[in-house]
Symmetry: C2
Subunit: 249 residues, 2 copies
DNA sequence: CTCGCGATAAATGTCAGACATTTTGCGCTG
DNA sequence: CAGCGCAAAATGTCTGACATTTATCGCGAG
């Protein structure tokens, strides 16, 4: 692929990095391909080579690119990408069509992790954690009917899951929750599409409520089971093995 | 603190970033403090301002620093650090005295996560995964007696845990395993110190063996219980609540 | 004809200096 | 005393040159 898709540039170094990263994550270049050279990018986007270098340094730090002097810049294998890098998380926000393999891996991860996190939350949640969870849940309930408020409903859904990670009161799990945000967003948007009118949303709301109640009661195992129920349908839809939690391959 | 501790510089941009990061992680500057200005660092280390800028950009990307034009560079709060950034993982390698709060949080995370990962591994592990696990375990057994081979024993121990994450066959968990490496290393080194002669090592070896057997048998729940046993003693030593998996505070 | 070696070109890495932009704080004016 | 504006200081960006590494091509020796 070439740079044709990228028009002229507006914004700072981070903006350029974001544009390049999103083009790459969107599949404009395949792993192993040669990435455009600094000067070509600079010329095409009408920015200095310096800015391009800074942007490429960001992509390199995220494991997306591999640069060696004299050789050039190449796209690394998907397995080498730093999916847990917060920067990557930013770049994934609003990405229309992330790679389906990535989506499955992320859901499989959540399906194994969120029950544990919910269990931690059930034992560690304080008043403010419960308040966050309840606020998000009320928001979900209020926006469940009108398909017009779908966007808001998704926001509350994501906030609910983020609040669970937050309530675990563990630094690492909380960071994980933050950087999973875009992925959760994408998954929620994708999963509520097929079944909107029938049982989809109603069931979903009910299941989220079960998680909230279990956490409020401090019942860890029940919270874990409930969290698994929340993700179960989406997991089955995407072909994730709900028995092993791994990809069904 | 000042730059006095940093002598003249040798190496490339990454080396400079590592030196600055390790000085910061070692506590030379406190959160909220002002970090030295670009020109001071450049002058002190006898490198170009450009190189300093690149290094500082790395630290900023890791959430360690916050830079604003006209204002300067400040050290961010520990809660804002990107602990899951692989770069951070590199910088933590061999750090003598990481912050004790960080150590507890990391162990609490592992205590909640590794049982799940072991369960996934029990269901997904292939022949090569088992081979890795067995090789690491044999290494641990062979170096268990001689206190002279303590360093090698630690290496095998870390390799064992890394192999568990690898065997989960999930992209995210595998990356997690890789970037937990230095933390696991630090924990293992720290935990085998207090009780060397008595029951410490023998028990540890036995418990690792139980995990291996459960994974080999494909028995998920048993693998989870065994993984919890492995971390249990260290967790109790460090004051992590083994009931909730959270910090005992 | 093949293998090895060196020159050359191309790409990234580094340096130095100047200018732009943003923020802070001080001093001046009303 | 309040508010405005200017100047200093710090980071951000641009430009051009040079250094270093790597791949490639051509040439000569075997």
């Amino acid at each position: 692929m070439s740079l044709e898709a990228l028009g002229p540039h507006q914004g700072d170094a981070d903006a350029l990095a974001r544009r390049l990263a999103r083009a790459l994550l969107g599949g404009d270049w395949q792993p192993g391909d040669a990435f455009p050279k600094e000067l070509d990018i600079a010329a095409h986007c009408a920015v200095s080579r310096n800015l391009v270098r800074n942007a490429l340094a960001s992509l390199t730090a995220a494991g997306l690119l591999e640069r060696t002097a004299g050789r050039g810049t190449r796209v690394r294998e998907v397995g080498d990408w730093h999916l847990l890098d917060p920067q990557m998380s930013d770049w994934l926000v609003g990405l229309a069509h992330p790679q389906p393999q990535l989506v499955r891996e992320l859901l499989a991860f959540r399906y194994s992790a969120e029950p544990v996190v919910a269990e931690l939350a059930a034992r560690a949640a304080g008043p403010d954690d419960l308040a966050r969870l309840e606020a998000a849940f009320r928001g979900m309930a209020a926006t469940a009917d009108a398909s017009q408020q779908a966007a808001q409903h998704v926001e509350y859904d994501v906030a609910f899951h983020e609040a669970i990670y937050e309530a675990s009161h563990n630094l690492i799990w909380r960071q994980m929750g933050h950087l999973l945000r875009p992925s959760i967003l994408a998954l929620v948007q994708h999963s509520q599409r097929p079944a909107r009118g029938d049982d989809g949303l109603g069931d979903s709301l009910e299941r989220h409520g079960a998680v909230l109640e279990a956490i409020r009661d401090g019942d860890g195992p029940r919270a874990a089971r409930a969290a698994r129920e929340v993700l179960g349908r989406t997991a089955r839809d995407l072909g994730v093995d709900t028995e092993t939690g791994a990809r069904a391959d």
